[in-house]
Symmetry: C2
Subunit: 333 residues, 2 copies
């Protein structure tokens, strides 16, 4: 044994309102790194909405997690003990072993991180977040000048990149977010053409006011009533890109379709789901290169909301679902 | 006044099980054709599943019909009195004034029908039915050799054309229909590779047995539990073309989405709705020409189920929803 790690476990299956008490922090023994293994001290971990899905017990791609199991997710860490020549002490690595402060694992399963950008960007704009936004805008929706694209969850990590990519393509971009501060940020810093705080204006009313001619394309991060409202105002032949459905993740069946699915037939809509896993495997290198170039030129605004320490993780994760955070939510450990 | 017409009216709003008693036949006076008008005796009328939608009172593209209102739909008829030089007595015309035996209307709203094919084909393979099937296969799903396409409602008017078009493109075609006789017809006459009677085998079990590697594409005529089963076995990147949802048309909300909509995100599926209205306006001429050439060469099997007389219309319409008819359901008047 070489020490103690603290790890976040699922304490109980969350109800419709996920709470910090649904998680607990436990201490576990760390084994001595065996041949080919390293011990890593995590420095950054990612909190993403999709991580709620296996907690629901509803199945799907993210299989149901047992109560008591250790949470998982992307993390950046530094090797502090090494029995693997490829990863010496001091090396920075990315893993799927977030939600804990330390771990021991085979070096072969870890990805070394270097390069010109802050390492935690690999958890966001240069990781799953950036790949998701890029695929949705550049490969799925492809908005062009003269078209109006609507982005929900626009001040979030994926949404904020999606807005900027769509603006670069020349589209008119309209957006929703969960506070007046976020709306202000979207308009002033990201150059979004119009935005609404969905907590103070009905999204359907906003769309009718701002875009009476209807929408050409929709980048959907939230599902739920917003998707229902959008289906009502899509133009014929419109495109909807499904990225996530955060407004549904507390539902009895978060996987359910919209109330007015039949509109897809009547309007000849195309609805395409996308995720970083599939698109990353197909075109990840190309996408990360393009995003890296934009970042290097200062052409992409990237905002992180950072909280500190493993003990803050349960409350920070819960905050993802109340619309409080701006940009990418990260924990510095 | 120049006579009497018989017309089918909505007698009451149908329940989940639509019944002939939901309709009634009434006699109405026919006005003398005014200048520019003609009196038409209908010879053929079309019965199509979508005609149930306005009866539900649930809104959508086909606005809710009032109880007592006259039913509508495509019909072929012959001009029997004319006050319009462009349409002399004896001319064959197509109208939206089906569900009645005679009507008087402005000639300008009628379409003259001539050409080498039986006129009632304009209600089917050379009309909305053919356009729908063609658009779904050739413009939306585009199955190719090496791919497996699944067609539900495959022995119906649209489904039977869709199967044949997909076979011509080189795809493997598997199908469901509502009787052993229909399955036999699909296999023997249409060259479908595998087919199942959904009344005697679970569709999910059939798909698992016939296509364990998953589906590349799905031509959906039925929605409901079949769409749920298909979502579970689509391959990543698969395409679903939404044509109709006949299994849902008796539901409280026939417009609702599938239980596992979220699979669209997880598998990166593309779901595209289509209809003859939108695609006909965009490419109707091209599509009808292609279908006409296939028919002229004998390359397309086209089957009609014909019932006789206006009094049979309510029961015939109801029969659309129990899976009894093969091919296109027509009424000869």
């Amino acid at each position: 044994m070489s020490g103690i790690a603290r790890v976040v476990r699922l304490a109980r299956r969350p109800g419709p309102d996920i709470r910090p008490e649904d998680f607990k922090i436990a201490e576990v023994d760390l084994a001595e790194p065996a041949e080919g293994e390293v011990q890593v001290r995590n420095t950054w971990m990612s909190l993403d909405p999709y991580m709620r899905l296996p907690l629901t017990g509803q199945g799907g791609l993210h299989a149901a997690m047992a109560v008591g199991a250790e949470m998982e997710g992307a993390a950046i860490g530094v090797v502090e003990r090494s029995a693997a020549p490829a990863l010496p002490v001091g090396a920075t690595v990315m893993s799927r072993r977030g939600w804990r402060d330390r771990f021991v694992a085979p070096a072969a399963g870890l990805q070394r991180v270097d390069g010109e950008f802050p390492p935690q960007w690999r958890l966001g704009v240069l990781g799953l977040t950036g790949l998701t936004a890029y695929a949705g805008v550049e490969f799925v929706l492809k908005p062009v000048a003269g078209e109006t694209l609507f982005v929900s969850g626009a001040a979030g990590a994926v949404g904020s990149i999606a807005c900027q990519l769509a603006k670069r393509r020349g589209a008119r971009v309209i957006a929703t977010a969960g506070s007046a501060e976020k709306v202000d940020w979207l308009l002033r810093e990201l150059g979004v053409d119009a935005a609404c705080d969905y907590k103070s204006e009905d999204v359907g009313a906003f769309l009718a006011r701002i875009c009476p001619e209807g929408l050409d394309a929709y980048f959907d991060n939230v599902g739920g009533p917003t998707l229902d409202a959008v289906l009502g105002v899509m133009k014929p032949w419109g495109r909807i890109g499904l990225c996530g459905a955060i407004a549904q993740y507390g539902d009895d069946n978060y996987r359910a379709g919209p109330r007015d699915f039949f509109t897809i037939i009547e309007k000849g809509l195309t609805v395409t789901g996308f995720n970083a896993g599939l698109w990353g495997a197909r075109a990840g290198g190309e996408m990360l290169q393009a995003l890296g170039q934009m970042l290097a030129r200062g052409d992409l605004v990237w905002r992180e909301t950072v909280v500190e320490g493993l003990e803050t993780v349960p409350a920070a994760f819960v905050s993802l679902f109340d619309g409080r955070n701006l940009g990418k939510l990260l924990v510095r450990l």
